[in-house]
Amino acid sequence: MEDNIVLKMRNIHKIFPGVRALQGVDFTLRKGEIHALMGENGAGKSTLIKVLTGVYGKEEGEIFLEGNEGAVTIHSPQDAQKMGISTVYQEITLCPNLSVAENMFIGRTAGTVQNWKKMNTDTEKILQSLDIPAKPTQQLESCSIAVQQMIAIARAVDMDCKVLILDEPTSSLDEQEVAKLFKLMRDLRSRGVGIIFVTHFLDQVYEVCDRITVMRDGKLVGEYEIKDLPRVQLVSKMLGKELDDLSDIKGDQQAFKKEEGAVPVFEAENLASDAGIKPFDFHIDKGEVNGFTGLLGSGRSECVRAIFGADHVTSGSVKVKGKSVKISKPIDAMKNGIAYLPEDRKMDGIVGDLSVRDNIILAQQVLKGFFKPFSKAEANKVADEYIKLLNIKTASKDTPIKSLSGGNQQKVILARWLFTHPEYLILDEPTRGIDVGTKVDIQKLVLKLASEGMSVTFISSELDEMLRTCSRLVVMRDRKMVGELTGEDLNQKTVMSTIAGGDK
C-alpha cells in the first residue's frame, strides 16, 4: 500500500433482497485529508459506510487498512473500532446522563477498578488539546449538541482512530457551531487523521474538503480533487446528467398564464418552521403547477410541511385566496382547501391496518366532523369510484392497505386527498419507489387536475419529472430558497446551476 493511504476499499458489492445496493464501489482515503462522500438518496453512501464499519457484511470486494498485511475482514462495529475506524453520527450515541469523562472512557477500561482521578485528568488533557469547551466532570446533557459531537469525536481520536467517519454531523448545528466543528476537523487533519465527511450541504463541502467521491445508484461515479470539480459539475454528477448532453425536455405543460387580476390561491410571506428552514415567500395561482427542487435535505419537504402546518410554524403570514388565515395544524390547512401527500408514505401516509376504504375516506371524514360519519354504503361507493378512477389494484376495498404494493398504496393516499376536493394539492415525492407506468399515470393526472383549475405543488427527486409537469420551479439550497425559474429557464442546465449556486 502506498505510504499516505490509510484506507482502500476495492470492488465492494452488497446485495439486499431484490436490490443491488453497491456494485463494485472503490473508495480511497489518504492520511490527513477530509474526503466528502456525496450522493443523492439511494446512492449507497450509508451502505458503503455500514460495510466499512462492520454493520453489514459484503458479498464481494476487499478492504485494506494501513498497518495490516493484506485485506482485512471487519465483522462488527467493535472490530472496526479496534482497527481504528470510528463513526460519529448526527444523533449523539453517547450517554447523556453520564459525565464527559465517563463518556470518554466508557467501555474502554479493561480492569474492574476505575481510577476516577486519572480518568478526569486524562479527559482534561484531551479536551484542552482539542480546544473543546467542556469540563470532565460536567454532565454530557448540559453541553450543547455541537460540543457533544466534539466530545464524541475526541473519544474517537483518543482511541487512536485513523479513519474518522462523520455522518451528517452538521444537520442540527448553527453556523457558529459548524465553524467550531470545522476548526476541530482541520486540526485533526493536520494530525494525520483521515476523515470521511458525509453531508448534503454543498457549501460545507467546498469549505473544508480536499477530495470528493461521488456515488449514484450504488455505483461509483468518480473521485475528484475539490479544485477540479466546480459545483455545477458536482450537482450534475450526483443527479446523473452530463452537462454536455443535456437534452431539452419538452414538457406537456403549457406556459402558465395567470388570469387578469386573479388572487393567488395560496400566498405565504416569511414562512418558517421549527424544522430549520430559512423564512421564505411563496405563492401559487389557480390552475398552476409548480415545484420545489433542490438536493436531498435542501428543505423542499420542510417548505411544504410548513405550508400544510405539519411542522410547528414559527413565523410568517399566510393568505388563502387573498384572505389572511392562520394555519398552525393540518386541520387548519385542510379546512382551507389544502391537501398534502407526504413524502414518507409508510410513516405519515397510510394507516396500515385499516382497509383501503377507510384509508380513502379518512381525511374527508375528519373534515366532515365527528358526528357525521359516512354510512357504509356511501363509503363503499366512494371507495369503488376511486379504485376505478385511479386503477388501484387491490383484492377488495376491505383489504388492509398495508398488504398493497407501494404504488397502489400511494394511489390510495392520492385518492384520499382527491376526495377532499382540494383547491391546492401538494404532492411530496408521489412517484418515489413506484413503477414507471404508475409514475406516468400520476404525472398525467397532475396535469389534468391543473387544467381543471386545481393548483398543484409537485416535488420529486427526478428533475425530468419536474420539468415535464411544472411551469415554475422554486429552487432550494441548504434550507434556503435561492431562486425561481420559469419559461425559458426551465431546463436542466439552468436548474442545476441554480441548485449549485452559480457556475462556480
Binding site: 386541520i331 410513516m347 379518512l362 365527528f370 357525521k372
Partner: protein, 363 residues
C-alpha cells in the same frame, strides 16, 4: 355441480368466515364452558323463580348470577377496549377509580352524617357528581398518557396506588351506610321485576356504545390514532385529544360500575370494592382477540370476552374452588386462550383447514 355440493361449499365458506371472525375465540370458549357444565351437572342451567326477603319475585340460578355479576366487567370492557385501541396500553387504575366513584356517590347521598335516616340528595344528582369526578380522573390519566407521553400502565399506576386512599379520604375514612331501600334497586332488583337491575344497566351501556359507534366517528378516529399517530395527525386529527377522550369514556364506565357496586351492599369497603377488576377487564379485551398494542378493535368480542370470564369464575365457584385458588385456575385458562388466539397459531390453523379442503377436493 349438483345442488347438494353448492350447499356444502357454502357451508365450508361459512365455516371459514366463522373461524376468521374475531368473535370466534370468545364464543368457542363460551361453548366449551357450557359443554363442560352440561356434562358435569346440567343443574347448572336451571333457573328458578323465588321470592326475596322483601317478598318480590326474583329469578335465581347460575346463569342469572353470571349475567348479573358479569355486568360490571362488561361495562368496563367497553372503556378498556377504547383505551387499549387509542393508546396502545391499558388502564390499571379502574378498580381504584371505581372505589373513588362509589365513595363520591355515597358522600353526596349521606352529606355530613355517615348513617343518614333519609337521602341528603337525589340519587341521580349523586350519580352525576360521581360521573364528573370519575371522568376527571380519567382525563387525568389521559393527559398523562397523551400529553406527557407516559406509558399508560405507568401513568395509571399513580391512581392505582393512590385511588383507594383517596376513596377513604372522601368519606373521612368512615363507612357510610344507606338505609333507604330505593338505593338497592340499582344493584339488586326493582320490585316486581325478577331480573337483576345490573343486567339492564349493562344492556343499556352496550346499546349506547353501539349507537355511539354508529353515529359518530369514534371507531375510525380511535383506530387511526392507535395504528399510526403521525399519519392521523396529517389527516387533521388531534391524536392527544382522542386518547384523552378514550380515557374519559372509560371514566364514565367506571362511574356506572361504581353505582352498581355500592348499591349492591348499600355501603362500601374501600380495600375490597372492585378489587382486581382491572385485570379481568384487560383480559376481556385480550380474550376478544384485540391487540393489546392498540389499533383495530372489535367491541362485541370484548364484551363477549367479559361474560366468558364471569362464566369461568362462576363455574369455578360452582366446583367449589376456594376463592384464593381461583386466580391460578384462571391463569391456566388465560394461557390456553391467549395461545389459541395468537395470530401465529390462528394462521397455522387456517392453513391447516385450507390443506384439509384441498385434500378433500383431490379425493
Amino acid at each position: 355441480m349438483g345442488k347438494g355440493e353448492t350447499v356444502k361449499a357454502n357451508n365450508t365458506n361459512f365455516l371459514m368466515k366463522l373461524v376468521r371472525n374475531q368473535c370466534f375465540i370468545p364464543l368457542a370458549a363460551l361453548l366449551l364452558l357450557v359443554v363442560i357444565n352440561l356434562v358435569a351437572d346440567p343443574g347448572f342451567f336451571k333457573i328458578s323463580l323465588g321470592y326475596n326477603a322483601a317478598g318480590n319475585p326474583v329469578l335465581s340460578g347460575f346463569l342469572i348470577t353470571i349475567l348479573d355479576s358479569g355486568s360490571e366487567l362488561a361495562i368496563l370492557a367497553i372503556g378498556m377496549t377504547l383505551v387499549t385501541a387509542a393508546s396502545g396500553g391499558q388502564d390499571i387504575s379502574v378498580g381504584a377509580a371505581v372505589a373513588i366513584a362509589g365513595s363520591v356517590l355515597l358522600r353526596v347521598l349521606c352529606g355530613e352524617n355517615s348513617r343518614p335516616e333519609t337521602l341528603q340528595a337525589p340519587i341521580i344528582v349523586a350519580f352525576l357528581v360521581s360521573c364528573v369526578v370519575a371522568m376527571l380522573f380519567g382525563a387525568f390519566n389521559g393527559v398523562l398518557v397523551a400529553y406527557f407521553k407516559i406509558q399508560p400502565m405507568i401513568a395509571t399506576l399513580i391512581l392505582f396506588t393512590a385511588g383507594r386512599s383517596i376513596a377513604a379520604w372522601i368519606n373521612n375514612n368512615e363507612l357510610p351506610v344507606i338505609s333507604d331501600p330505593s338505593f338497592k334497586y340499582y344493584g339488586e332488583f326493582i320490585p316486581g321485576i325478577p331480573i337483576p337491575t345490573p343486567v339492564f344497566i349493562a344492556a343499556i351501556c352496550i346499546i349506547i356504545i353501539g349507537i355511539v359507534l354508529k353515529v359518530t366517528n369514534l371507531r375510525i378516529y380511535t383506530q387511526a390514532v392507535g395504528i399510526n399517530q403521525s399519519s392521523s395527525r396529517l389527516n387533521g386529527l388531534n391524536p392527544a385529544l382522542i386518547k384523552v377522550l378514550a380515557f374519559v369514556i372509560l371514566g364514565l364506565c367506571v362511574a356506572v360500575v361504581g353505582l352498581i357496586k355500592v348499591s349492591r351492599i348499600s355501603s362500601i369497603n374501600y380495600s375490597v370494592i372492585a378489587k382486581d377488576i382491572e385485570m379481568d377487564a384487560i383480559l376481556a379485551v385480550a380474550l376478544g382477540g384485540n391487540a393489546l398494542s392498540g389499533g383495530k378493535f372489535n367491541m362485541t368480542a370484548s364484551i363477549i370476552g367479559a361474560y366468558v370470564i364471569q362464566f369461568l369464575t362462576t363455574t369455578l365457584y360452582k366446583f367449589q374452588v376456594q376463592s384464593d385458588a381461583l386466580p391460578a385456575y384462571k391463569a391456566v385458562v388465560v394461557i390456553v386462550l391467549v395461545v389459541v388466539s395468537a395470530p401465529t397459531v390462528r394462521e397455522y390453523f387456517s392453513s391447516l383447514t385450507k390443506k384439509l379442503k384441498l385434500s378433500k377436493e383431490v379425493a
